[in-house]
Point group: C2
Chain length 211, copies 2
DNA sequence: TATTTAATGAACGTCAACGTTTAGTTTTTC
DNA sequence: GAAAAACTAAACGTTGACGTTCATTAAATA
Protein backbone atom coordinates (compact mmCIF):
# COMPACT_ATOMS: atom_id res chain seq x y z
CA UNK A 1 0.00 0.00 0.00
CA UNK A 2 2.90 2.37 0.59
CA UNK A 3 6.09 2.76 -1.41
CA UNK A 4 8.94 0.23 -1.44
CA UNK A 5 8.47 -3.54 -1.35
CA UNK A 6 11.61 -5.47 -2.24
CA UNK A 7 14.52 -5.96 0.11
CA UNK A 8 16.29 -9.27 -0.76
CA UNK A 9 17.12 -10.02 -4.40
CA UNK A 10 14.40 -12.03 -6.11
CA UNK A 11 13.80 -13.42 -9.54
CA UNK A 12 12.69 -11.10 -12.27
CA UNK A 13 13.62 -7.63 -13.33
CA UNK A 14 14.33 -5.36 -10.39
CA UNK A 15 12.67 -2.01 -9.96
CA UNK A 16 14.57 0.93 -11.29
CA UNK A 17 15.24 3.05 -8.22
CA UNK A 18 15.76 6.15 -10.34
CA UNK A 19 12.12 5.95 -11.37
CA UNK A 20 10.87 6.30 -7.84
CA UNK A 21 12.80 9.51 -7.46
CA UNK A 22 11.71 10.75 -10.87
CA UNK A 23 8.05 10.09 -10.10
CA UNK A 24 8.07 11.71 -6.68
CA UNK A 25 10.01 14.69 -7.96
CA UNK A 26 7.67 15.16 -10.89
CA UNK A 27 4.64 14.70 -8.66
CA UNK A 28 5.91 17.21 -6.13
CA UNK A 29 6.37 19.93 -8.69
CA UNK A 30 3.12 19.19 -10.45
CA UNK A 31 1.21 19.29 -7.17
CA UNK A 32 2.98 22.53 -6.28
CA UNK A 33 2.05 24.17 -9.55
CA UNK A 34 -1.52 22.97 -9.83
CA UNK A 35 -2.72 21.63 -6.51
CA UNK A 36 -3.98 18.10 -5.93
CA UNK A 37 -7.05 18.08 -8.16
CA UNK A 38 -5.65 19.86 -11.18
CA UNK A 39 -2.51 17.75 -11.20
CA UNK A 40 -3.14 14.77 -13.47
CA UNK A 41 -1.42 11.43 -13.26
CA UNK A 42 -0.78 11.51 -17.00
CA UNK A 43 1.07 14.79 -16.66
CA UNK A 44 3.11 13.54 -13.73
CA UNK A 45 3.99 10.39 -15.67
CA UNK A 46 5.00 12.28 -18.79
CA UNK A 47 7.09 14.71 -16.78
CA UNK A 48 8.82 11.85 -15.01
CA UNK A 49 9.44 10.08 -18.32
CA UNK A 50 7.58 7.06 -17.06
CA UNK A 51 4.51 5.09 -17.99
CA UNK A 52 1.29 5.85 -16.18
CA UNK A 53 0.98 2.19 -15.26
CA UNK A 54 4.32 2.28 -13.50
CA UNK A 55 2.94 4.91 -11.17
CA UNK A 56 -0.13 2.83 -10.43
CA UNK A 57 2.05 -0.23 -9.82
CA UNK A 58 4.19 1.56 -7.27
CA UNK A 59 1.60 3.80 -5.67
CA UNK A 60 -1.91 2.52 -5.30
CA UNK A 61 -3.63 5.68 -6.41
CA UNK A 62 -3.29 9.45 -6.64
CA UNK A 63 -4.02 9.93 -2.95
CA UNK A 64 -1.28 7.52 -1.94
CA UNK A 65 1.18 9.20 -4.27
CA UNK A 66 0.33 12.54 -2.71
CA UNK A 67 0.82 11.17 0.79
CA UNK A 68 4.21 9.78 -0.17
CA UNK A 69 5.25 13.12 -1.63
CA UNK A 70 4.16 14.94 1.51
CA UNK A 71 5.96 12.38 3.66
CA UNK A 72 9.22 12.85 1.79
CA UNK A 73 8.86 16.61 1.93
CA UNK A 74 8.17 16.36 5.65
CA UNK A 75 11.41 14.39 6.08
CA UNK A 76 13.24 16.91 3.95
CA UNK A 77 11.82 19.74 6.01
CA UNK A 78 12.85 18.02 9.22
CA UNK A 79 16.36 17.48 7.88
CA UNK A 80 16.66 21.12 6.88
CA UNK A 81 15.68 22.16 10.38
CA UNK A 82 18.35 19.87 11.83
CA UNK A 83 21.10 21.38 9.74
CA UNK A 84 23.21 22.65 12.62
CA UNK A 85 23.62 26.31 12.12
CA UNK A 86 26.75 27.91 13.36
CA UNK A 87 27.64 28.01 17.02
CA UNK A 88 30.45 30.49 16.56
CA UNK A 89 30.58 34.20 17.18
CA UNK A 90 28.60 36.33 19.58
CA UNK A 91 24.88 35.92 20.16
CA UNK A 92 23.84 38.33 17.42
CA UNK A 93 26.04 36.55 14.91
CA UNK A 94 24.68 33.14 15.88
CA UNK A 95 21.11 34.35 15.65
CA UNK A 96 21.83 35.97 12.29
CA UNK A 97 23.25 32.69 11.06
CA UNK A 98 20.18 30.82 12.23
CA UNK A 99 17.86 33.37 10.67
CA UNK A 100 19.71 33.40 7.37
CA UNK A 101 19.56 29.68 6.94
CA UNK A 102 15.90 29.72 7.94
CA UNK A 103 14.89 32.46 5.53
CA UNK A 104 16.91 30.99 2.69
CA UNK A 105 14.86 27.87 3.18
CA UNK A 106 11.48 29.54 3.72
CA UNK A 107 11.82 32.00 0.86
CA UNK A 108 13.03 29.50 -1.73
CA UNK A 109 10.40 29.37 -4.46
CA UNK A 110 9.81 25.67 -3.86
CA UNK A 111 8.96 26.29 -0.27
CA UNK A 112 6.75 29.23 -1.08
CA UNK A 113 4.79 27.05 -3.47
CA UNK A 114 4.59 24.30 -0.87
CA UNK A 115 3.31 26.79 1.65
CA UNK A 116 0.59 27.85 -0.78
CA UNK A 117 -0.48 24.35 -1.62
CA UNK A 118 -0.19 22.32 1.57
CA UNK A 119 -2.50 24.15 3.95
CA UNK A 120 -5.34 23.95 1.46
CA UNK A 121 -4.80 20.31 0.58
CA UNK A 122 -4.16 19.20 4.15
CA UNK A 123 -7.21 21.02 5.49
CA UNK A 124 -9.06 17.72 5.71
CA UNK A 125 -6.07 15.56 6.64
CA UNK A 126 -5.37 16.67 10.20
CA UNK A 127 -2.85 13.91 10.88
CA UNK A 128 -0.65 14.77 7.93
CA UNK A 129 -0.95 18.45 8.77
CA UNK A 130 0.14 17.79 12.34
CA UNK A 131 3.09 15.67 11.22
CA UNK A 132 4.21 18.34 8.79
CA UNK A 133 3.87 21.10 11.32
CA UNK A 134 5.81 19.19 13.96
CA UNK A 135 8.62 18.31 11.57
CA UNK A 136 8.88 21.84 10.21
CA UNK A 137 7.72 24.97 12.00
CA UNK A 138 7.36 23.21 15.34
CA UNK A 139 10.86 21.78 15.33
CA UNK A 140 12.31 25.05 14.13
CA UNK A 141 10.72 26.89 17.01
CA UNK A 142 12.02 24.33 19.50
CA UNK A 143 15.57 24.57 18.27
CA UNK A 144 15.56 28.34 18.31
CA UNK A 145 14.05 28.30 21.80
CA UNK A 146 16.91 26.09 23.01
CA UNK A 147 19.42 28.49 21.55
CA UNK A 148 17.71 31.38 23.31
CA UNK A 149 17.60 29.56 26.64
CA UNK A 150 21.32 29.02 26.32
CA UNK A 151 21.78 32.76 25.84
CA UNK A 152 19.56 33.45 28.82
CA UNK A 153 21.63 31.24 31.07
CA UNK A 154 24.61 33.26 29.84
CA UNK A 155 22.69 36.37 30.98
CA UNK A 156 22.78 37.92 27.53
CA UNK A 157 19.04 38.17 27.18
CA UNK A 158 16.08 37.71 29.46
CA UNK A 159 12.54 36.44 29.04
CA UNK A 160 9.97 34.29 30.75
CA UNK A 161 8.88 31.98 27.97
CA UNK A 162 11.52 30.74 25.54
CA UNK A 163 8.96 29.49 23.00
CA UNK A 164 7.32 32.88 23.03
CA UNK A 165 10.66 34.57 22.50
CA UNK A 166 11.47 32.20 19.65
CA UNK A 167 8.13 32.98 17.99
CA UNK A 168 8.81 36.69 18.30
CA UNK A 169 12.21 36.37 16.71
CA UNK A 170 10.99 34.21 13.84
CA UNK A 171 8.11 36.59 13.25
CA UNK A 172 10.49 39.53 13.13
CA UNK A 173 12.72 37.74 10.65
CA UNK A 174 9.88 36.82 8.33
CA UNK A 175 8.09 40.11 8.64
CA UNK A 176 5.78 40.70 5.71
CA UNK A 177 7.88 39.04 3.07
CA UNK A 178 6.22 35.66 3.50
CA UNK A 179 2.81 37.15 2.74
CA UNK A 180 4.15 39.08 -0.23
CA UNK A 181 5.77 35.96 -1.63
CA UNK A 182 2.69 33.87 -1.00
CA UNK A 183 0.51 36.23 -2.99
CA UNK A 184 3.16 36.66 -5.64
CA UNK A 185 3.31 40.40 -5.03
CA UNK A 186 7.04 40.11 -4.58
CA UNK A 187 9.04 37.61 -6.57
CA UNK A 188 12.22 36.78 -4.73
CA UNK A 189 14.62 38.40 -2.33
CA UNK A 190 18.23 39.00 -3.19
CA UNK A 191 20.79 37.68 -0.76
CA UNK A 192 21.42 41.24 0.35
CA UNK A 193 17.76 41.92 1.09
CA UNK A 194 17.49 38.66 2.94
CA UNK A 195 20.57 39.34 5.06
CA UNK A 196 19.30 42.83 5.80
CA UNK A 197 15.95 41.47 6.93
CA UNK A 198 17.61 38.98 9.24
CA UNK A 199 19.96 41.52 10.78
CA UNK A 200 17.11 43.95 11.27
CA UNK A 201 15.00 41.30 12.98
CA UNK A 202 17.82 40.22 15.24
CA UNK A 203 18.59 43.83 16.17
CA UNK A 204 15.01 44.61 17.09
CA UNK A 205 14.76 41.38 19.03
CA UNK A 206 17.91 42.04 21.03
CA UNK A 207 16.83 45.60 21.70
CA UNK A 208 13.65 44.28 23.26
CA UNK A 209 15.04 41.21 24.98
CA UNK A 210 18.64 42.21 25.76
CA UNK A 211 19.52 42.69 29.42
CA UNK B 1 -20.27 39.25 -18.66
CA UNK B 2 -20.00 40.21 -15.00
CA UNK B 3 -22.74 40.38 -12.40
CA UNK B 4 -25.63 42.81 -12.40
CA UNK B 5 -27.45 44.00 -15.50
CA UNK B 6 -30.72 45.81 -14.73
CA UNK B 7 -30.94 49.31 -13.35
CA UNK B 8 -34.23 50.92 -14.52
CA UNK B 9 -37.47 48.99 -14.15
CA UNK B 10 -38.26 46.94 -17.22
CA UNK B 11 -40.97 44.56 -18.29
CA UNK B 12 -40.95 41.03 -16.97
CA UNK B 13 -40.25 39.42 -13.65
CA UNK B 14 -37.44 41.19 -11.79
CA UNK B 15 -34.46 39.37 -10.42
CA UNK B 16 -34.65 38.35 -6.82
CA UNK B 17 -31.84 40.28 -5.17
CA UNK B 18 -31.73 37.85 -2.26
CA UNK B 19 -30.61 35.14 -4.66
CA UNK B 20 -27.47 36.99 -5.63
CA UNK B 21 -26.44 37.17 -2.01
CA UNK B 22 -27.40 33.56 -1.38
CA UNK B 23 -25.35 32.36 -4.35
CA UNK B 24 -22.25 34.37 -3.52
CA UNK B 25 -22.44 33.38 0.13
CA UNK B 26 -22.86 29.73 -0.70
CA UNK B 27 -20.09 29.90 -3.30
CA UNK B 28 -17.72 31.58 -0.88
CA UNK B 29 -18.10 28.92 1.76
CA UNK B 30 -17.98 26.08 -0.71
CA UNK B 31 -14.79 27.45 -2.28
CA UNK B 32 -13.33 27.93 1.20
CA UNK B 33 -14.06 24.37 2.21
CA UNK B 34 -13.06 22.60 -0.99
CA UNK B 35 -11.02 24.94 -3.16
CA UNK B 36 -11.95 25.97 -6.68
CA UNK B 37 -11.81 22.63 -8.45
CA UNK B 38 -13.50 20.46 -5.85
CA UNK B 39 -16.32 22.93 -5.38
CA UNK B 40 -19.12 21.97 -7.75
CA UNK B 41 -21.72 24.30 -9.17
CA UNK B 42 -24.43 21.80 -8.27
CA UNK B 43 -23.36 21.87 -4.65
CA UNK B 44 -23.22 25.66 -4.58
CA UNK B 45 -26.68 25.83 -6.13
CA UNK B 46 -28.17 23.35 -3.67
CA UNK B 47 -26.60 25.13 -0.74
CA UNK B 48 -27.95 28.46 -1.95
CA UNK B 49 -31.40 26.94 -2.47
CA UNK B 50 -31.28 27.96 -6.09
CA UNK B 51 -31.40 26.27 -9.45
CA UNK B 52 -28.14 25.58 -11.22
CA UNK B 53 -29.44 27.41 -14.28
CA UNK B 54 -30.00 30.55 -12.22
CA UNK B 55 -26.30 30.60 -11.43
CA UNK B 56 -25.38 30.24 -15.08
CA UNK B 57 -27.83 32.99 -16.01
CA UNK B 58 -26.28 35.44 -13.57
CA UNK B 59 -22.65 34.44 -13.79
CA UNK B 60 -21.26 33.26 -17.08
CA UNK B 61 -19.34 30.32 -15.70
CA UNK B 62 -17.59 28.96 -12.64
CA UNK B 63 -14.54 31.15 -13.18
CA UNK B 64 -16.65 34.30 -13.31
CA UNK B 65 -18.50 33.30 -10.18
CA UNK B 66 -15.19 32.78 -8.43
CA UNK B 67 -13.94 36.18 -9.53
CA UNK B 68 -17.10 37.83 -8.24
CA UNK B 69 -16.71 36.09 -4.90
CA UNK B 70 -13.10 37.21 -4.61
CA UNK B 71 -14.05 40.72 -5.60
CA UNK B 72 -16.71 40.95 -2.90
CA UNK B 73 -14.32 39.50 -0.35
CA UNK B 74 -11.70 41.99 -1.40
CA UNK B 75 -14.18 44.82 -0.81
CA UNK B 76 -15.12 43.31 2.52
CA UNK B 77 -11.47 43.03 3.45
CA UNK B 78 -10.87 46.63 2.48
CA UNK B 79 -13.85 47.76 4.54
CA UNK B 80 -12.64 45.83 7.57
CA UNK B 81 -9.27 47.56 7.29
CA UNK B 82 -10.96 50.94 7.17
CA UNK B 83 -12.94 50.33 10.35
CA UNK B 84 -11.43 53.17 12.34
CA UNK B 85 -9.95 51.71 15.42
CA UNK B 86 -9.87 53.79 18.49
CA UNK B 87 -7.87 56.97 18.73
CA UNK B 88 -8.26 57.29 22.49
CA UNK B 89 -5.86 56.50 25.30
CA UNK B 90 -2.09 56.41 25.28
CA UNK B 91 -0.03 54.94 22.45
CA UNK B 92 0.07 51.44 23.89
CA UNK B 93 -3.70 51.43 24.29
CA UNK B 94 -4.24 52.65 20.75
CA UNK B 95 -1.88 50.06 19.35
CA UNK B 96 -3.56 47.36 21.41
CA UNK B 97 -6.91 48.41 20.02
CA UNK B 98 -5.59 48.27 16.48
CA UNK B 99 -4.00 44.89 17.06
CA UNK B 100 -7.08 43.44 18.69
CA UNK B 101 -9.35 44.39 15.85
CA UNK B 102 -6.78 43.10 13.37
CA UNK B 103 -6.33 39.73 15.06
CA UNK B 104 -10.03 39.27 15.59
CA UNK B 105 -10.38 39.64 11.87
CA UNK B 106 -7.36 37.56 10.85
CA UNK B 107 -8.04 34.71 13.24
CA UNK B 108 -11.74 34.34 12.48
CA UNK B 109 -12.23 30.90 10.98
CA UNK B 110 -13.59 32.36 7.76
CA UNK B 111 -10.46 34.38 7.24
CA UNK B 112 -8.20 31.46 8.08
CA UNK B 113 -9.97 29.38 5.45
CA UNK B 114 -9.68 32.23 2.96
CA UNK B 115 -5.99 32.50 3.69
CA UNK B 116 -5.59 28.80 3.00
CA UNK B 117 -7.51 28.85 -0.23
CA UNK B 118 -6.72 32.14 -1.93
CA UNK B 119 -2.94 31.97 -2.35
CA UNK B 120 -3.20 28.61 -4.05
CA UNK B 121 -6.08 29.58 -6.33
CA UNK B 122 -4.69 33.02 -7.16
CA UNK B 123 -1.24 31.67 -7.93
CA UNK B 124 -1.96 32.01 -11.63
CA UNK B 125 -4.10 35.15 -11.41
CA UNK B 126 -1.52 37.81 -10.55
CA UNK B 127 -3.92 40.71 -11.04
CA UNK B 128 -6.51 39.40 -8.62
CA UNK B 129 -3.76 38.52 -6.18
CA UNK B 130 -2.38 42.03 -6.36
CA UNK B 131 -5.79 43.60 -5.88
CA UNK B 132 -6.49 41.42 -2.89
CA UNK B 133 -3.13 42.12 -1.33
CA UNK B 134 -3.48 45.87 -1.81
CA UNK B 135 -6.97 45.95 -0.34
CA UNK B 136 -6.04 43.78 2.62
CA UNK B 137 -2.54 43.34 4.00
CA UNK B 138 -1.15 46.29 2.07
CA UNK B 139 -3.74 48.74 3.28
CA UNK B 140 -3.50 47.45 6.82
CA UNK B 141 0.25 48.05 6.81
CA UNK B 142 -0.21 51.58 5.46
CA UNK B 143 -2.72 52.52 8.10
CA UNK B 144 -0.59 51.16 10.90
CA UNK B 145 2.44 52.96 9.48
CA UNK B 146 0.53 56.25 9.55
CA UNK B 147 -0.38 55.68 13.16
CA UNK B 148 3.24 54.99 14.01
CA UNK B 149 4.46 58.10 12.18
CA UNK B 150 2.03 60.10 14.25
CA UNK B 151 3.55 58.63 17.40
CA UNK B 152 7.01 59.36 16.13
CA UNK B 153 6.21 63.00 15.56
CA UNK B 154 4.97 63.00 19.17
CA UNK B 155 8.43 61.65 20.12
CA UNK B 156 6.98 58.56 21.73
CA UNK B 157 8.83 56.13 19.51
CA UNK B 158 11.59 56.36 16.97
CA UNK B 159 12.46 54.56 13.74
CA UNK B 160 13.72 55.19 10.28
CA UNK B 161 11.17 53.37 8.15
CA UNK B 162 7.54 53.46 9.22
CA UNK B 163 6.52 50.61 6.91
CA UNK B 164 9.26 48.48 8.37
CA UNK B 165 8.12 49.31 11.88
CA UNK B 166 4.53 48.48 10.97
CA UNK B 167 5.61 45.13 9.57
CA UNK B 168 7.49 44.37 12.74
CA UNK B 169 4.52 45.17 14.91
CA UNK B 170 2.10 43.16 12.83
CA UNK B 171 4.51 40.25 12.81
CA UNK B 172 4.83 40.39 16.59
CA UNK B 173 1.07 40.44 16.99
CA UNK B 174 0.52 37.47 14.72
CA UNK B 175 3.46 35.51 15.99
CA UNK B 176 3.05 31.83 15.25
CA UNK B 177 -0.66 31.63 15.67
CA UNK B 178 -1.40 32.25 12.01
CA UNK B 179 0.70 29.26 11.00
CA UNK B 180 -0.86 27.07 13.67
CA UNK B 181 -4.34 28.06 12.56
CA UNK B 182 -3.51 27.59 8.91
CA UNK B 183 -2.36 24.02 9.50
CA UNK B 184 -5.23 23.35 11.85
CA UNK B 185 -2.82 22.52 14.68
CA UNK B 186 -4.63 25.02 16.84
CA UNK B 187 -8.36 25.53 16.53
CA UNK B 188 -9.24 28.99 17.74
CA UNK B 189 -8.02 31.52 20.25
CA UNK B 190 -10.13 32.66 23.13
CA UNK B 191 -10.58 36.39 23.53
CA UNK B 192 -8.22 36.27 26.49
CA UNK B 193 -5.47 34.53 24.51
CA UNK B 194 -5.93 36.98 21.69
CA UNK B 195 -5.76 40.00 23.97
CA UNK B 196 -2.70 38.60 25.66
CA UNK B 197 -0.96 38.08 22.32
CA UNK B 198 -1.69 41.64 21.27
CA UNK B 199 -0.50 43.16 24.53
CA UNK B 200 2.65 41.06 24.43
CA UNK B 201 3.39 42.14 20.87
CA UNK B 202 2.81 45.78 21.64
CA UNK B 203 5.01 45.58 24.74
CA UNK B 204 7.91 43.99 22.87
CA UNK B 205 7.51 46.50 20.06
CA UNK B 206 7.55 49.49 22.38
CA UNK B 207 10.52 48.09 24.26
CA UNK B 208 12.46 47.98 21.00
CA UNK B 209 11.14 51.16 19.43
CA UNK B 210 10.36 53.36 22.45
CA UNK B 211 12.54 56.42 22.95
C1' DT C 1 -55.13 39.94 -20.80
C1' DA C 2 -50.80 39.72 -23.43
C1' DT C 3 -46.01 40.08 -23.09
C1' DT C 4 -41.70 39.75 -21.15
C1' DT C 5 -38.34 38.18 -18.09
C1' DA C 6 -36.83 35.11 -13.96
C1' DA C 7 -36.61 30.82 -12.17
C1' DT C 8 -36.96 25.76 -11.86
C1' DG C 9 -36.21 20.71 -12.71
C1' DA C 10 -35.02 17.27 -15.64
C1' DA C 11 -32.71 15.60 -19.23
C1' DC C 12 -28.85 15.84 -22.25
C1' DG C 13 -24.16 16.17 -24.67
C1' DT C 14 -19.38 16.48 -23.84
C1' DC C 15 -15.07 15.97 -21.98
C1' DA C 16 -11.33 15.09 -18.97
C1' DA C 17 -9.34 12.30 -15.65
C1' DC C 18 -9.15 8.07 -12.89
C1' DG C 19 -7.85 3.64 -12.85
C1' DT C 20 -7.77 -1.06 -15.50
C1' DT C 21 -6.70 -4.35 -18.95
C1' DT C 22 -4.00 -6.39 -22.46
C1' DA C 23 -0.30 -7.69 -25.29
C1' DG C 24 4.28 -7.32 -25.82
C1' DT C 25 9.27 -5.99 -24.44
C1' DT C 26 13.14 -5.71 -21.27
C1' DT C 27 15.89 -7.21 -17.51
C1' DT C 28 16.84 -10.00 -14.01
C1' DT C 29 17.57 -14.89 -11.39
C1' DC C 30 17.81 -19.91 -11.47
C1' DG D 1 17.27 -21.11 -22.02
C1' DA D 2 13.09 -20.78 -18.90
C1' DA D 3 10.67 -18.31 -15.49
C1' DA D 4 9.57 -14.16 -13.21
C1' DA D 5 8.98 -9.56 -12.53
C1' DA D 6 9.20 -4.46 -14.24
C1' DC D 7 7.99 -1.59 -17.69
C1' DT D 8 5.56 0.38 -21.76
C1' DA D 9 1.98 1.90 -25.12
C1' DA D 10 -2.55 1.78 -26.38
C1' DA D 11 -7.05 1.03 -25.72
C1' DC D 12 -10.92 0.78 -22.72
C1' DG D 13 -14.79 1.41 -19.18
C1' DT D 14 -16.54 4.57 -15.85
C1' DT D 15 -17.55 8.52 -13.46
C1' DG D 16 -18.27 13.18 -12.30
C1' DA D 17 -18.71 17.80 -13.42
C1' DC D 18 -19.37 21.58 -16.74
C1' DG D 19 -22.48 23.93 -19.24
C1' DT D 20 -26.88 23.71 -22.34
C1' DT D 21 -31.57 22.94 -23.77
C1' DC D 22 -36.38 22.64 -23.03
C1' DA D 23 -40.87 22.76 -21.20
C1' DT D 24 -43.22 24.88 -17.48
C1' DT D 25 -44.40 28.00 -13.89
C1' DA D 26 -43.99 32.60 -11.46
C1' DA D 27 -43.95 37.52 -11.29
C1' DA D 28 -43.58 41.76 -13.21
C1' DT D 29 -45.26 45.74 -16.98
C1' DA D 30 -48.27 47.67 -20.51
Amino acid sequence: MAGEKRTTSRAGRPRDPAKHEAIVHSALHTFLERGFNAATIEHIAARAGVSKVTIYNRFTDKETLFEQVVKEQTDHFAAAMMDDSISRGDLAARLDAFGCSLLHFLFASDHVALDRMLPQELAHHPQMAQRFFDAGPGQCRSRLAEMLEQARSDRQIDFEDSLQAAEDLMALWKGFADVELKFGVRQRLSDEELDAKVRHGTRIFLRAYGV
